[in-house]
């Protein structure tokens, strides 16, 4: 067993567990976005940043960092709240997140995080990129204007469905998620129309076709339910 401290509480963990998993078991809330139970952790969104006090206050993503003996983790502090808020501001500024008219309004992890972290204003200029919505698929719609590049769709598609339809394209600020190396989703030869990417998407970027404003509700827990039922090697 590994012994560590989270927010001053002494906890024990099994080897290989991440800080996030141990914190969840201990009832310590750490906000997440790109993490989804049932998928491999990626640590890309930086919302779940925590401080390791005895590593000179080093910031690490809780979802992707395995626990170590003697670690003293700070999961809740004004500094962390401020950092997480900053990350959120950048996410909001990067694309066109207009909650009022979004199909996921009221059922959106990005929106929930903004409420949880008390995001009242975005201090960086919005980029307002002109991205084209893809409604070519018979069952789903992809709106890159609302994408946060968490990659949950990419992982759900490759790790759970095994179709590998979704992938990242471009670099840095120009990164987008695309089906089949680009091209309309409706012409994808690999997509099985399973909808796991839609359920995994935390925002209104991947939605069911025909949903009107505030109508899209998702069940991201389905991904974990599927993987847990699978026979293990």
């Amino acid at each position: 067993m590994i012994h560590l401290e989270i927010d001053g509480r002494e906890v024990t963990a099994r080897p290989g567990q991440t800080i996030l998993e141990v914190a969840e078991e201990a009832g310590v809330r750490i906000p997440t976005l790109c993490y989804l139970s049932g998928l491999s952790p990626r640590g890309s969104c930086r919302i779940c940043l925590v401080e390791v006090a005895n590593w000179n206050g080093k910031l690490v993503p809780a979802c992707a960092t395995p626990v170590q003996e003697g670690m003293r983790v700070v999961a809740t502090s004004p500094r962390l709240t401020e950092l997480r808020r900053r990350v959120l501001e950048l996410l909001f500024a990067e694309r066109n997140h207009i909650c009022a008219i979004c199909v996921s309004n009221g059922h959106c992890e990005l929106q929930d995080l903004a409420c949880e972290l008390g995001l009242e204003a975005v201090r960086v200029p919005y980029r307002f990129p002109g991205l084209t919505l893809d409604a070519s698929h018979g069952k789903f719609v992809y709106d890159p204007n609302r994408c946060v590049l968490c990659g949950r769709c990419v992982r759900a598609c490759s790790e759970v469905e095994g179709a590998m339809t979704w992938g990242f394209s471009g670099r840095g600020i120009h990164t987008t998620v695309e089906p089949d190396l680009g091209g309309p989703w409706g012409s994808s030869e690999t997509c099985t129309e399973c909808g796991k990417c839609v359920q995994a998407c935390p925002v209104g970027a991947l939605v069911e076709r025909g949903k009107a404003t505030a109508e899209q509700e998702k069940e991201p827990q389905l991904l974990a339910q599927i993987t847990e039922r699978r026979p293990r090697a």
Binding site: A100, I101, T132, A212, E215
Partner: protein, 473 residues
């Protein structure tokens, strides 16, 4: 040249009036400018047809329900579905709620201070707060009546403003039984309030004789939807035009073919377009829409108390069309009465509780027009989509736009009647504002514009020099 600037307040949006005088100091030209633009028709492009009701509803905080329903109807046309009977009735019920709340706001909150406190009373007090001091009962009645209309919207859509409830193909949820009972409980008081207000208005007709004759009293066409049997209509039906003698100029027009009979002219001095009756030409093809036009166009209201009120209304013009825009107020009150009577009828209808409220379909038409009557007049939403349902083109003809020519004519008439000398007096300013306000224009909607609406009046002399201006502080 002598130019007078007047800001218009207590309407929805932003406006400027310019008056130009000829060599003798008479009003040669009067223009009502709408000074803001927003661009909804452009930025809706690229969105899906399913999102359009909620996007276009954001045009305005007063009329979101009108745009929501009209956009959903345009979506119905693109899906090529027949909306389930229950959904049709539920949408109608919400539109009636919208009529009650919007008309009550216009009459009680915005216009009654002019009518009841006097055109020359202190502008600092000539508002709903002044009305509360002078006649608290009436002010409270107005607030309660509006609240009832809002309650209808809220019980159906979950919120009073911007409910995302109507969708292409129907609505998202039926009325709950408890909500229906709450609406039934509030109805008697609303009926009492509107009947009192109509009596109040009718009792003052002689006091307002001068304004009635000067506030846009002219011959024109009137356009409105009417039911197939000619009854007053607010949600479907066909387009009818009547003239000032109430002769039917055109009837049975398909609302979806509006470009056949409505032209839209653009003028460099206003962001609001100028629709006109195509056959008559521009600008002679001036027509009016809204409460006055609906009452002039229909054969009957279709409910007992409102029909009785319509008879009294018609008596004002010996059965011909009532041509003074001042009587928009009167028509508005009668429409509230009609709306409440119809709401009462719906509350005993079991269809409203049905769960069959939404027709699902894909994209079956690449173009769709939604038309219905908003409180301020006939509203058109016209969309084109690609084969996936993504919007490629949008045209909105908003109620206030139809009345643009009429508002300009009204401003001219008021200026001619009340301008004396080369100064924009407080009295003139008030009446110009009042004349505009009779139409209950929503400039936010009509130019899809943003902001408060101070009205500025500029007065120019014959040489084009600005000689006087006035802005409501």
């Amino acid at each position: 040249m002598r130019k007078l600037k007047i800001p218009v307040t207590r309407i929805e949006g932003h406006g400027l009036i310019t008056l130009s005088l000829d060599g003798e100091g008479r009003v040669a030209q009067a223009r009502f400018h709408v000074t803001e633009a927003r661009g909804f028709e452009r930025f809706c492009q690229g969105r899906t047809v399913w999102e359009m009701p909620a996007i276009t509803a954001r045009v305005c905080g007063i009329c979101p329900v009108s745009h929501l329903l009209c956009s959903a109807k345009a979506g119905d046309a693109i899906l090529a579905v027949r909306v389930p009977r229950a959904a049709d009735k539920l949408r109608r019920l919400m539109n009636l709620g919208q009529f009650v709340q919007s008309h009550a706001l216009s009459f009680f909150h915005l216009s009654s201070p002019d009518l009841l406190l006097g055109w020359d009373s202190d502008p600092a007090r000539r508002n709903v707060f002044g009305l509360m001091e002078e006649d608290p009962g009436l002010a409270l009645d107005g607030i309660r009546l509006r609240a009832y209309g809002q309650q209808v919207i809220e019980e159906l859509g979950g919120r009073r403003i911007h409910p995302a409830w109507a969708v292409p193909g129907g609505v998202r949820a039926p009325l709950q039984e408890a909500a229906r009972d709450r609406l039934a409980a509030g109805l008697p008081e609303a009926m009492r309030i509107i009947q009192d207000a109509i009596s109040l208005y009718e009792g003052h007709l002689d006091d307002w004789a001068e304004e009635i004759s000067a506030f846009g009293d002219f011959d024109s066409l009137f356009m409105a939807l009417v039911a197939p049997d000619g009854t007053w209509e607010h949600y479907s039906g066909h387009i009818r035009f009547v003239d000032s003698d109430r002769n039917v100029v055109a009837d049975g027009l398909d609302p979806a073919r509006y470009p056949d009979y409505i032209g839209e002219q653009v003028e460099g001095w206003s962001y609001l377009k100028f629709p006109y009756h195509r056959e008559t030409g521009y600008p002679e093809g001036l027509y009016r829409v809204g409460p006055l036009a609906r009452l002039n166009c229909c054969d009957r209201m279709g409910t007992p108390l409102a029909d009785e009120a319509l008879r009294r209304f018609r008596a004002l013009a010996d059965g011909k069309a009532v041509t003074s825009s001042f009587h928009y107020h009167y028509a508005r009150l009668i429409e509230i009465l009609a709306a409440l009577e119809r709401i009462n009828g719906y509350l005993s209808d079991p269809d409203l509780l049905s769960d069959r409220v939404r027709a699902e379909a894909g994209i079956n038409e690449l173009e769709g027009v939604g038309v219905h009557e908003a409180p301020r007049g006939t509203l058109f939403h016209h969309y084109r989509v690609d084969e996936h349902g993504v919007i490629s083109w949008v045209n909105l003809i908003v109620s206030t736009g139809h009345n643009n020519l009429a508002m300009n004519r009204t401003v001219h008439q008021i200026a001619q009647h009340y301008l004396s000398g080369r100064e924009v007096t407080e009295g003139l300013l008030n009446r110009l504002e009042g004349g505009i306000r009779a139409y209950d224009p929503c400039l936010s909607c009509s130019v899809h514009a943003v902001g408060r609406l101070p009205l500025r009046v500029e007065l120019y002399d014959a040489a084009g020099r600005l000689i006087s201006e006035r802005t409501r502080a």
